[in-house]
């Protein structure tokens, strides 16, 4: 036997049609928690992991985006096909696990047979057999295995029944591969469509042979009726009935907007109790730290820099989690494909595609996966335009900013009104993205140059009751990513901003006679800030901020938000030295914001006009370096991210100027 080298760890690749259960299976085998969604096209990049240790199989496992055939039609499918034939790092797979939905075998066998024809070593895993059983049918893996001449097993993706058999087969096949080497494969080619049509004919025959009815004592006559046309026996009638409603001319649109607005309004009020808890905790901690450490620089660093800075952002994490939770429910129910279908026509008028819907929707969580999700759009021009406008969809990093600013506008915790304002902000973001997309589509020569066939072909998966464990898994994964991405930046910047606004004038001399101790502290901190490094930096920013009716302190916060948008909140919290006697972090931020005056005047700094201006700024400004880099990576050119930064940040400034001064002109200060 040949000695094993380091990179001879065998590679097992999961391949299958979209939504057939690849990622679900991948998670079982690897012990990871990748996102699974009831939408064809949820995975858009490959991921690799070792098999779980407890299975005792030394192999790398690769999950790939769903493909319909071995001839790719969109970038996500290209990823899969490339990983099959020429993966730069892992080479060809030793073994393929091909998933196929057993309720639609005649379609899903196409890919299996193409794989076998190209010479791959394949184990076929039939998923969704629970759904088949529910309709009183079953599938014979033995017969299918004979007909296809490869291993076939059933696996229930909901509880993992059948996993043992699969592991056994993997082991046998890998040993086989060690003995005989990697299988010889040829790239799959098609000159015309007649082989495809023939393959479908044969697959239908196979399907007829392997699917059989399970005798049911009760519903036999009904089942007989359903069997009249074999190819239609599996259609889920409930799904079609629900769709009659959700795709209806009027009800459908109503439903669409109802679902969208419920999503965003509930973010605000559902999260409130949890937010209060986090808020109180941090308020208490900050006061406690200050009280026990006294009036020292490290007391200020801990209470004002760390606790208030980080706490002011963490307060909003419950809202973000609720947002992820609701998006997760939508994703697992099967509605996403309907949303895409509903708005395909309107979106195609402005140069987008119905398939832009899912990327746009996931943009509410984060622009980075959203931009990657645009890979499912086969038309390059539509894909680039989708990538272009995604930064206008308000991501969860903006949620803390909006929530704080809304808290300023809507006092005494009117959560209902807060929710409505938040929903309007989101809708305003969507409308802006649509308008900008329409404009760019019209004058596209500069930014988009491609023009190929535009198409919309999408499977509408059956509706399913969202599975709690799946939704929670997705939410936790999302929240983890969020904290991992934003956490370190917020921590580092909180300390940096604290230092810039504390030194060098850290112990200012003030006339303390006749002042209460509280006044002394507040006078001291404003003196300290006025002589700080950030004030010196602020002088450069001041001229840009004056037309917006704001001063350098907001400017510094806006600049720091370019590292991560949430930093705006912690920066405000630190610059305005929020720690007062109040036991609640958020209300003390708002309190100091209400009292803040533009330096050198006695004009209030934060007014409804400037707050609305700031909201407008955050809707438009592209302040996220990761977005810029992913936009470059996915579009393959610097042109797109460059225009994004220039146009969106330019618009942000102009629209903020118009908002603030326009409101003042009509008497709203």
């Amino acid at each position: 036997m040949i000695t094993q080298t380091a990179h001879s760890t065998p590679l097992v690749t999961l391949v299958g049609p979209p939504n057939s259960g690849k990622t679900t299976l991948f998670n079982y085998l690897s012990g990871k928690h990748y996102k699974t969604v009831n939408y064809p096209g949820s995975t858009v990049d490959y991921s690799v992991s070792k098999m779980q240790d407890k299975f005792n199989i030394n192999a790398n496992l690769l999950d790939s985006p769903g493909i319909i055939s071995l001839i790719p039609a969109s970038p996500d499918e290209e990823v899969s096909v490339h990983s099959l034939y020429k993966h730069p790092k892992y080479g060809n797979p030793d073994l393929i696990i091909a998933t196929a939905d057993s309720t639609q075998l005649s379609r899903h066998l196409l890919l299996v047979r193409q794989l076998l024809e190209s010479g791959f070593r394949v184990i076929v895993v039939l998923t969704m057999s629970d759904l088949l059983n529910k309709r009183n049918f079953d599938v014979s893996t033995k017969r299918l295995s004979e007909l296809l001449n490869c291993d076939v097993i059933k696996l229930d993706g909901r509880n993992g029944t059948g996993l043992d058999k699969l592991l056994n087969l993997i082991e046998i096949n890998l040993n086989n591969s060690l003995l005989s080497g990697k299988p010889d494969t040829t790239e799959y080619k098609l000159d015309n469509s007649s082989p495809l049509i023939n393959m479908f004919r044969e697959s239908e025959e196979i399907e007829k042979e392997v699917i059989f009815r399970v005798a049911s004592t009760k519903n036999i006559s009904k089942a007989d009726k359903e069997l009249q046309i074999l190819s239609n026996y599996q259609i889920d009638n409930t799904t079609i009935k629900i769709d009659r409603f959700l795709l209806h001319k009027y009800w459908g649109i109503f439903g669409f907007f109802a679902i969208m607005s419920i999503t965003f309004t509930s973010v605000f009020w559902l999260a409130q109790p949890l937010m209060n808890l986090v808020d109180k905790t941090f308020g208490f901690l900050a006061n406690f730290a200050q009280a026990s450490l006294g009036d020292t620089w490290y007391s200020d660093l801990i209470s004002n820099g760390l606790i208030s800075g980080i706490g002011s952002v963490l307060v909003f994490v419950p809202q973000i989690i609720i947002l992820f939770l609701i998006l997760g429910l939508l994703e697992d129910s099967g509605y996403l494909a309907r949303g895409a279908m509903l708005i395909d026509k309107p979106l195609s008028k402005i140069g987008l595609n119905g398939k832009s819907f899912v990327p746009m929707l996931s943009g509410f969580a984060c622009a980075i996966p959203a931009i990657m999700a645009a890979r499912t759009i086969s038309n390059k021009r539509e894909r680039l335009l989708t990538i272009f406008i995604i930064p206008l969809i308000s991501c969860s990093a903006r949620l803390p900013v909006y929530a704080l600013l809304i808290g300023f506008l809507v006092p005494n915790h009117n959560q209902w009104l807060g929710g409505v304002i938040l929903a309007s902000i989101y809708i305003f973001g969507i409308i802006s993205s649509v308008v900008i997309s329409a404009i760019i589509n019209k004058f596209s020569k500069f930014i988009l140059r491609n023009n190929d066939n535009s198409s919309f072909i999408l499977e509408l998966p059956s509706y399913r009751m969202p599975k709690l464990s799946v939704v929670i898994n997705n939410t936790v994964t999302n929240a983890e990513q969020y904290i991992k991405r934003a956490g370190p930046t917020i921590l580092a910047l909180s300390i940096a901003i604290w230092m810039l606004s504390y030194f060098p004038n850290n112990n200012p001399k003030i006339e303390a006679k006749g002042l209460s101790s509280e006044q002394v502290i507040s006078l001291k901190s404003s003196e300290r800030l006025a002589g700080s490094y950030s004030a010196q930096l602020g002088k450069f920013i001041q001229p840009v901020m004056t037309p917006l009716g704001m001063d350098w302190r907001v400017g510094v916060s806006l600049v720091s938000a370019f590292a991560a948008r949430e930093v705006f909140v912690s920066s405000l919290a630190m610059i305005f030295r929020v720690t007062d006697s109040s036991d609640n972090l958020q209300s003390s931020i708002l309190h100091s914001m209400r009292n803040a005056e533009i330096e050198g005047t006695n004009q209030k700094l934060f007014t409804p006009a400037t707050i609305l201006g700031l909201i407008v700024f955050f809707i438009f400004a592209l302040q996220c370096i990761s977005t810029i880099s992913i936009s470059y990576k996915e579009s393959g050119t610097w042109r797109i991210p460059l225009f994004q930064v220039l146009i969106f940040t330019g618009l942000a400034y102009i629209f903020t100027f118009i908002t603030v001064n326009g409101l003042r002109a009509i008497g709203i200060n």
């Binding site: 319909i68 055939s69 001839i71 039609a73 309720t103 639609q104 075998l105 005649s106 379609r107 196409l110 098609l190 015309n192 469509s193 495809l196 049509i197 479908f200 004919r201 046309i229 190819s231 239609n232 026996y233 599996q234 259609i235 799904t239 079609i240 769709d243 009659r244 795709l247 209806h248 001319k249 459908g252 649109i253 494909a337 279908m341 509903l342 395909d344 026509k345 309107p346 119905g354 066939n453 198409s455 919309f456 072909i457 999408l458 499977e459 509408l460 998966p461 059956s462």
Partner: protein, 73 residues
């Protein structure tokens, strides 16, 4: 010559041919619209486009323009 885009709501028809000069035709075939296959128009989106066809155990939405390349008996 009738096309899948001419089918009425809830109507069933059998595909007789696919117009392979259409740029989406390969994908249309790959996803399961093949000659001899029975399809049913189960739903339409607002503006009557895209159309949702039931076939081979699932429902597939395609644009009207794409349904044009599916010729039915």
């Amino acid at each position: 010559m009738r096309k899948a885009s001419d089918i009425g709501f809830g109507e069933k028809a059998v595909i007789s041919d696919i117009d392979t000069s259409h740029p989406s035709s390969r994908r249309i075939i790959e996803i399961g619209f093949t000659p001899g296959q029975e399809i049913e128009l189960v739903n339409k989106s607002i503006f009557n486009d895209p159309l949702a066809f039931a076939l081979r155990g699932t429902v597939i939405a395609i644009r009207k323009r794409e349904a044009d390349c599916i010729i039915i008996i």
